[in-house]
Amino acid sequence: MSPQFEIQLVAVIVAVACSLPGVFLVLRKMSMMSDSITHTILLGIVLAFFLTHDLSSPLLIVGAALTGLATVWLTETMNRTKLLSEDAAIGIVFPLLFSIAIILITKYAGSVHLDTDSVLLGELAFVPFNRMVLFGYDIGAKAIYSTMALLIINLAFIITFFKELKLVTFDPVLAAVVGISPSLIHYSLMMLVSVTTVGAFEAVGSVLVVAFMIGPPVTAYLLTDNLKHMLVLSGIIGAVNGILGFYLAVLFDVSISGSMAVITGLVFLTVFITAPHRGLISSLRRRSRQKIDFSKKTLLFHLYNHEGSEAEIQEAGVHTLADHLHWDMGLTDKIVKALLKEGNIIIENDVIKMTDKGRILSVAEYEALFSD
């Protein structure tokens, strides 16, 4: 395997492995918890390192995963006192744990290769240097195997507990009633997030793990309403981001994980603008259509109200209408023209009158809105 291929492979595996638990984080409105965990695992790694004095010890992963859980527990305990809101609890717990980690590192670990840069920023380009050797044979970069294990764990967990995860995510009360413990599933999921973060940060750095966890699911969220589709789409988007990011990095000779995050942002931006039904364009079009629709109805009701009254000349006059409805001239013109074209109104001596068709429509719309 060439180094380039190995890097791409790891990028794709990490991106897919991160996006799977990310789907549930996004749906459970816990995206910022991933940000919190990615910072606090540093403390777990540092503490485990003090115990083992070995940077490759599996205890480091255990320590990191445990701090991940501790972070979630601390945040929720603070939140449960009702003395501070959840976002404030997150914003207090993780900087504190992170600060303690940095203090410990600068104070005691000056002589080891454990620096905050490598944890926070990571570098995918170094992946091929770390080889996996089995019975004297070089069988590829170590990261391929570690991230692959991560992906398999995530897939296995989500496939096995799909039903439970789905129920707890969308209706925790029902889940509790039918005997599925929401908090057990919740903490298992958080465990998964912690382990994924630990497994991924070596390759991509902990801040960017957030981009891979949240980016693809949020993008997929704009494209589908189906949980299974969302999971599959997130995986695909994550993989595409990984490969495109790699080529962008090669093109400009810059940080690989950084460009993967940039691509994640660009892909999201594209989907955000163009997504059918939920994108920016369709949202703006829907809003303007609704505004015109609403304005038409308002004008019809207004005319119906004042039809035949003394004030009709004022209220429905072509030149005075805008003032009475508090509309600007442009909107008034547009609505009047549209209604004229549809044959719902006619203009007689500068006064707007309803046609029979308009009167019937006005009554029907009124009934539709206000009768039970």
Binding site: I90, V262, G279
Partner: protein, 307 residues
């Protein structure tokens, strides 16, 4: 004790402590608004998002003046805020997801630009990274002047729009119905919060800045139900932690200033949550115990669950 007196006479210490105190004060005041609006984490997002602005400012101007770099940070922080507000406004994506996405993507862009800068020949990019972790010890007197000016501007705005902001954060619907331009107030307030964050980047760095914004306000909230008392207390807590954090890091070898300040302010939060009169956990526990005793006196079995 002598070491302490000696320390407070030290010129470098005075500069750094003053800078940290002003930072604590500014972020304490603005943080009260952010926390009450339940947008505490905006600080976290914006400070991460400031990184590409810092590096971009360096690429474009080649200067390492704090003011220029912070201007870049301000612009990219504002762009990020604009993105977040619009994603939430136009889609069903929630605030926290939008925040997490935008901040991590911006941070990634910052790293890309940083690695790009490192490849430019003859460019001395050292010192840009201090914005990631913060280095209070590099604060110069002019940096402190800069912070003072920013702080005064922010405080003047707060005083000018005090009643509007207060109304807006507690009841924005009512503010709208009274005819206040709620959207513009929101933008102004976000702008001011971003500015407060930017002034702190140099001292505590992008990652710990969120604590500076949230912690003083949360601590102050426990002691009072009056808004102006909360703001004053919050500013006080922020300033005190700034000074004490700096002092601790000067007295002890190899203790970084930013994390020391954060640990200090977190300590104040924990103390406040436990012991504040009225709201604190200790008072609740005592209250419950008394209630239990009272119920037993009244002939109950003493095991009545109380809320």
């Amino acid at each position: 004790m002598e070491a302490l007196i000696y320390l407070f006479k030290d010129y470098t210490f005075q500069t750094v402590a003053l800078g940290s105190a002003i930072l604590g004060l500014i972020s304490g005041v603005l943080g009260s608004f952010a926390v009450l609006r339940k947008q505490s984490l905006l600080g976290d997002g914006v400070s991460h998002a400031a990184l590409p602005g810092v590096v971009m400012a360096f690429i474009l101007t080649g200067s390492k003046d704090t003011e220029i770099l912070l201007l870049g940070a301000l612009i990219s922080g504002l762009i990020a805020t604009y993105f977040i507000i619009n994603i939430v406004k136009h889609t069903r994506i929630k605030f926290d997801s939008a925040l997490a996405l935008v901040m991590s993507v911006f941070f990634g862009l910052g790293l890309v630009l940083l690695t790009y800068v490192q490849k430019i020949p003859n460019s001395n990019q050292a010192g840009l990274k201090r914005f990631i972790f913060g280095q209070a010890s590099t604060l110069l007197q002019r940096d402190v002047y800069f912070m003072v000016i920013c702080g005064v501007i922010l405080l003047v705005f707060i005083l000018l729009f005090w009643k509007e902001f207060k109304l807006y954060i507690f009841d924005d619907e009512y503010a709208k119905s009274l005819g206040f331009p709620a959207h513009r107030l929101n933008l102004l307030l976000s702008f001011m919060i971003v500015m407060a964050i930017i002034t702190g980047l140099q001292t505590v760095g992008v990652i710990l800045m969120s604590a500076m914004l949230i912690a003083p306000a949360v601590a102050a909230r426990q002691w009072t139900n009056r808004f102006w008392v909360m703001v004053v207390l919050s500013a006080l807590f922020g300033a005190i932690s700034g000074i004490f954090g700096t002092a601790a890091s000067s007295l002890m070898a190899k203790l970084p200033t930013g994390p020391a300040i954060v640990v200090f302010i977190s300590g104040i939060v924990i103390f406040s949550v436990l012991f504040a009169p009225g709201r604190g956990i200790l008072q609740k526990v005592i209250h419950r115990k008394n209630l239990k005793l009272f119920l037993r006196d009244q002939g109950g079995d003493g095991n009545v669950p109380t809320v």
